[in-house]
């Protein structure tokens, strides 16, 4: 029993330690981002566009494929239920609301946490192990400005954009099923969709994606900076980064959905 308390206590203290580290990383990232954005030379050197290409554009095929299939599967399930109730005309609106508010932002963030957040951790972790970060500090170069700011800004642009694209792709997948199997015309489908969705559905989803972007970058980079102990340490940190950002995203998602619509 005492062992259990000891274990839980230590885990809790470790958790608080990580929280405070992430808080300081977040603060430093904001401060440094301001500096970079206000200085044209630094902005050029940061290579933000290249990062957007890397984390955003190159994630498109995966994000679009997953969301198209998800949109179809989701529509299949919903239409089955609605048909039982004889309420099939509600299908487009129902699907749109669920995808825009919840499924689109969440699934995009989870995909990117796995694809991009993990890469942040292993990249920074490898640099930590090779003492590249120590070298930066020794040259009086701020590692957060050098390594986190461009990733942070690129994600802040990329994730909302990907989320919009994912939601639209999923909606298109849903329409495809509705049209081919249920015979709903494009006209009807569009009208029914636009009748139901409101601006809030869109911006709540975008707001979520901004929060998720920050979570992915901060958790991913923090884990990278915390790496100790060679290649094995990098592997372990990468795994932990995906686990912790996934959990954090789900928790934040629930909180925000409840706050907006609960």
């Amino acid at each position: 029993m005492r062992n259990l308390f000891g274990y839980v206590g230590r885990a809790f203290i470790a958790f608080l330690g990580i929280l405070s580290r992430i808080y300081f990383l977040f603060r430093e990232t904001l401060v440094q981002s301001r500096i970079v954005l206000h200085d044209p030379v630094r902005r050029g050197q940061a290579g933000i566009l290249r990062r957007i290409d890397e984390v955003g554009a190159r994630s498109l095929p995966l994000v679009m494929t997953v969301s198209a299939f998800l949109g179809i599967a989701f529509t299949v399930l919903v239409s089955f239920q609605l048909r039982e109730l004889g309420a099939l005309s509600y299908l487009p609106g129902f699907v749109a609301v669920a995808l825009l508010r919840e499924v689109g932002p969440l699934i995009t963030a989870l995909i990117i946490a796995g694809r991009v957040g993990a890469a942040f951790t292993s990249r920074i972790g490898t640099m930590k192990v090779a003492e590249e970060i120590l070298a930066l500090e020794t040259m009086a170069i701020n590692p957060v400005r050098f390594l986190v700011v461009n990733r942070f800004l690129a994600m802040l642009v990329s994730l909302p954009a990907l989320t919009v694209i994912a939601s639209v792709t999923a909606l298109a997948g849903g329409f495809l099923y509705g049209n081919l199997r249920l015979g709903i015309t494009l006209d009807t489908y569009l009208r029914e969709t636009l009748d139901v969705i409101v601006f809030k559905d869109v911006y709540s989803g975008l707001l979520k994606s901004v929060v998720f972007a920050a979570v992915i970058v901060l958790v991913g980079c923090d884990r990278g900076f915390a790496v100790e102990g060679g290649a094995e340490g990098v592997g372990r940190a990468t795994m932990l980064a995906v686990v912790s950002s996934t959990l954090t995203i789900i928790v934040f998602d629930t909180i925000m959905t409840t706050a907006f619509y609960g």
């Binding site: 030379v41 050197q45 640099m127 090779a130 003492e131 590249e132 120590l134 070298a135 930066l136 500090e137 020794t138 040259m139 009086a140 170069i141 701020n142």
Partner: protein
């Protein structure tokens, strides 16, 4: 003038530095010698403010390095250059970008001038044709020279070298040794070199410090060290396997260690 005053550092139960005291004069070459695993890199990291000692003080002029943390070390760090044991070049940047990085960060110089400065630093280490390669495309010795060029990028007052010649062929090793000498004699740069290669040190050092068991065993000019009557010192400079220094790094007795298991 760099003063190391009574620094100690323990990792776990391994006392790496144990009340280390010495000073290194400005505009001179000081070699710190020690066995492998004897805490040389640890000492160097304390000198550059990367690791905090458990106790003791490091002063650069009247600046107390050990009292500074984080960003407040930056003014000191802009005045020093460090050649790391593993080079620590940024792998995602080309050779030229690696050297340009500190210049871009700390000066407002025009792109073309930065480029000229990079060329000059590379010329100094004899690698002008390699500026567009990435570190992993270079041999170990070339990486070492690029790392040296980077350490010199901001025209530092002091350069710290961690094993600048280990793992290099004798010719490159003596090229680097000569480079250290030139940096000092021609540019007046203070050089602190940590190494276990004795013979180079004997050739160019103004002062040699022998590190043993976390303390200073002997210090003086190469001449004084060579003439020392201490058998420990003699074993250091002759590199003989037989003598008072054991190559075992463990503090525990081997027999006891076996009997416990």
């Amino acid at each position: 003038m760099i003063t190391v005053d009574n620094i100690s550092k323990t990792y776990g139960n391994r006392k790496v530095l144990d009340g280390l005291c010495f000073s290194a004069e400005g505009r001179k070459i000081t070699y710190v010698f020690g066995t492998s695993g004897g805490g040389k890199s640890t000492m160097l990291k304390i000198l550059i403010g990367a690791t905090a000692p458990d106790s003791g003080e490091v002063r650069y002029g009247d600046l107390d390095i050990t009292a500074l943390r984080g960003r407040s070390l930056d003014p000191y760090r802009k005045r020093i250059g460090v050649l790391f044991q593993n080079n620590a070049l940024l792998n995602s940047l080309t050779v030229a970008e690696n050297i340009a990085l500190p210049i871009r960060e700390h000066t407002a110089l025009d792109q073309n001038i930065v480029h000229i400065m990079v060329k000059m630093k590379l010329e100094l280490v004899g690698l002008r044709d390699f500026e567009d390669l990435y570190p992993e495309q270079l041999s170990g010795g070339m990486q070492k020279r690029v790392a040296l060029a980077r350490a010199l990028a901001l025209d530092p007052e002091v350069v710290y070298f961690d094993e600048p010649t280990s793992g290099l062929d004798p010719i490159i090793a003596s090229v680097i040794t000569k480079l250290i000498k030139d940096l000092n004699r021609l540019l007046g740069i203070t050089c602190i070199v940590v190494t276990h290669a004795v013979h180079e040190a004997m050739k160019i050092a103004d002062k040699i410090i022998l590190l043993y068991r976390g303390k200073v065993l002997a210090e003086g000019t190469p001449q004084e060290i060579r003439e020392s009557a201490d058998p420990l010192v003699q074993q250091f400079i002759t590199g003989s396997p037989d003598g008072p220094i054991s190559f075992h790094a463990s503090s525990k007795d081997f027999r006891d260690d076996l009997l416990v298991g």
